[in-house]
Symmetry: C2
Subunit: 140 residues, 2 copies
DNA sequence: TTTATATCCTACCTCTTAACTAGGAATATG
DNA sequence: CATATTCCTAGTTAAGAGGTAGGATATAAA
């Protein structure tokens, strides 16, 4: 199990945006150069961040991206949920009428409870961190 | 991010072993049939479980696998660590003399702390669950 | 108006790896 | 010896991560 580079790059970029004082848009070229990331790859990541309304964009020259709301109002969970997608499967219980493949026929299945607990635990940790505090190094 | 089927299959198989009363070895054929898993794939998983000394094996006819120690002495963390391998990278800090690729030059890097907290949180959750209690449905 | 700089959008590519599959050697039982 | 099992290595395949490429659209400044 590991997080994708999407999460790492996207989170790093969001921290960069959180470090901008006034509402100056920052171009992806700047971020990509600063963080040593492919600019076009970053583009795709930001399309998702925008769709999730975590950032807003300004097109054209001197355009770029800025946070859609105050950094303190954006939790790390919200960011990673967008970048990583929902997590933790348990396919042993057959879906929509299929035969269950595992021997724990009950719902919830015994093994599934492990994934569920992990998911809840991670959500709790990530929801407890916001972008402002992260950028200011308060979690170090 | 998601867990591999190795983790799911391996964990399910370990729960099966935990459900055996006496010290009767269970063959992979039985487990594979019970859990609807490829027997040869399960073999590879069990080679790792054995190397980690979580199970012991008995070769030959009427052989099979059994837990290497009492189920209550085996944490879910130990199992998943073997099956999933260590987790959570942060490659933005250059390793062994490389140039760091991210803009947070400090060690620990600002983003890395997120992965670290997640890792610690997951370890804590998984360490708090043991195979005996899982098998007996105490976490449901 | 023209040029430079951006975001927007879609399609494609390429390599890695997860998830198996295959087949045989070694070992134990009866 | 026949059968059942673990042990071990190598090969296969499909999907997805991690990008690239190229062009359309929008905006600011000269």
């Amino acid at each position: 199990m590991k997080f994708s580079t999407r999460s790492e790059y996207g989170l790093r970029a969001m921290v960069v945006l959180a470090g901008i004082e006034d509402a100056t848009p920052v171009s992806l070229r700047q971020i990509a150069s600063l963080e040593q990331i492919s600019e076009q790859y970053l583009e795709q990541i930001f399309m998702d961040l925008k769709k999730a309304e975590l950032v807003q964009s300004i097109r054209g020259a001197y355009g770029g991206y800025l946070l859609a709301r105050d950094a303190s109002e954006i939790s790390i969970r919200q960011i990673l949920e967008v970048l990583e997608g929902p997590i933790f499967h348990c396919e042993c219980l057959g879906k929509d009428g299929e035969q269950p493949s595992c021997s724990f026929k009950e719902e919830p299945c015994i093994v599934q409870v492990v994934w569920r607990r992990l998911q809840d635990g991670m959500d709790h940790i990530l929801e407890g961190m916001n972008l402002r505090d992260l950028q200011q190094g308060k979690y170090l």
